[in-house]
Symmetry: C2
Subunit: 219 residues, 2 copies
Amino acid sequence: MGFMEGLAQVAGLLADRTRAAFCGALLDGRAWTARELAVHAGVAASTASEHLTRLVEGGLLVEHRQGRHRYVALAGPHVAELLESMAAFAGPDARPRSLRASSASEAMARGRTCYDHLAGQLGITLKSGLVGLGVVTAELAVTEPGMVWLKELGFEPSQRQVSRACLDWTERVPHLAGAAGAHLCRVFFERGWVRRIGSGRAVVLAPAGEQAWRELGIV
Amino acid sequence: MGFMEGLAQVAGLLADRTRAAFCGALLDGRAWTARELAVHAGVAASTASEHLTRLVEGGLLVEHRQGRHRYVALAGPHVAELLESMAAFAGPDARPRSLRASSASEAMARGRTCYDHLAGQLGITLKSGLVGLGVVTAELAVTEPGMVWLKELGFEPSQRQVSRACLDWTERVPHLAGAAGAHLCRVFFERGWVRRIGSGRAVVLAPAGEQAWRELGIV
DNA sequence: GGGACGCTTCGGTGCGGGCCGAAGCGTCCC
DNA sequence: GGGACGCTTCGGCCCGCACCGAAGCGTCCC
């Protein structure tokens, strides 16, 4: 009965409270950084690092290194399904939580902040609009006229890299990060064009924002 | 995220090689004794006893005490489904093994030995026939004419209890055990009326047995 | 370049638990 | 009753591992 050893192995990955808490947090479909998960589970960063390595090697999680960050996410829907079935077995209270999590996940996919810039479908919309306006190239490099456009919105070049590509985890395409992306995000918040919803990182484009983006030619 | 603790708990039950081997053996749907499982997994009887207690308390197994034996079986189809999904995740070789197990289980359900007597559908058929012949009552007590009938088949009363009811795990009804049941089973084997199939406890009624049972009025 | 930050590696600690053998108890056979 | 058998409890051993803090490395900001 050798095939039960594999079962014991994957069960062992989920048998730890901390690792289970990681997976539960990741059930929303987003990618979390190692530190976020460590804080969430209440363990030291070093402990979380080791747990994540085991979960990734076990095939439950996939990771994505970006700068000094380590993003992790569930390896796919099959992992989410496995967790769902086990949680369903463990307790009858899994259903309402799952509903809340999925609705929160949808809001997050529509729009969220990624550290200091916009991500999600909203971030992709912004990027597409900027590319269409010629502010940035398809590779997210700021053009000459793009810099003028940015300065009209109060952007001041600093020593920080003007633009960077940030891989969007839910959309699987890069969006605008760097100084320009951070500045735009800050301006959008200051002017009330975007606002946070819920308790997390989810954001939504306000009616005033929709009109302003149309006037700017973003949408 | 309190509901993930329950998940970690049930995962912990399956995270051990020995306990996983127990569950894998029980996936055939039969009830196993503690000793059988201990031998199967290669651990001491004391170790198996503790594991079984944990699995029963965790709700994965149900137990049934019968005399000095402790029968355990999966708590239900939902447990089997959980194990199937976890095994499917763990490895791609789960499917053929599952098939083998289920076919072996079918053979076992059709007929098997229960220590020294017949069980499964074959055991139920025998019991029904004996009741119809008036050899035993519906409560499996041997009647006066039944004792004569048994002696014609070579049965000799001993100090051992003549008849006992043994709960059939696959059929959920009692069948004939005790000295009479053991004697009949031995006679059937000696005369080639039943024979073993496969490597386990599965047995089948041979053609000669079918004819003999008809002549005796059992079927 | 300097400083902040996120992550990883490495010792070291402590607890949990899997395992066994021995002893004891209840059941069954003769 | 005597003996065999199955199971359980108990004590003890030991391995695994979850955890932390300190140190080091790479990245990012200014």
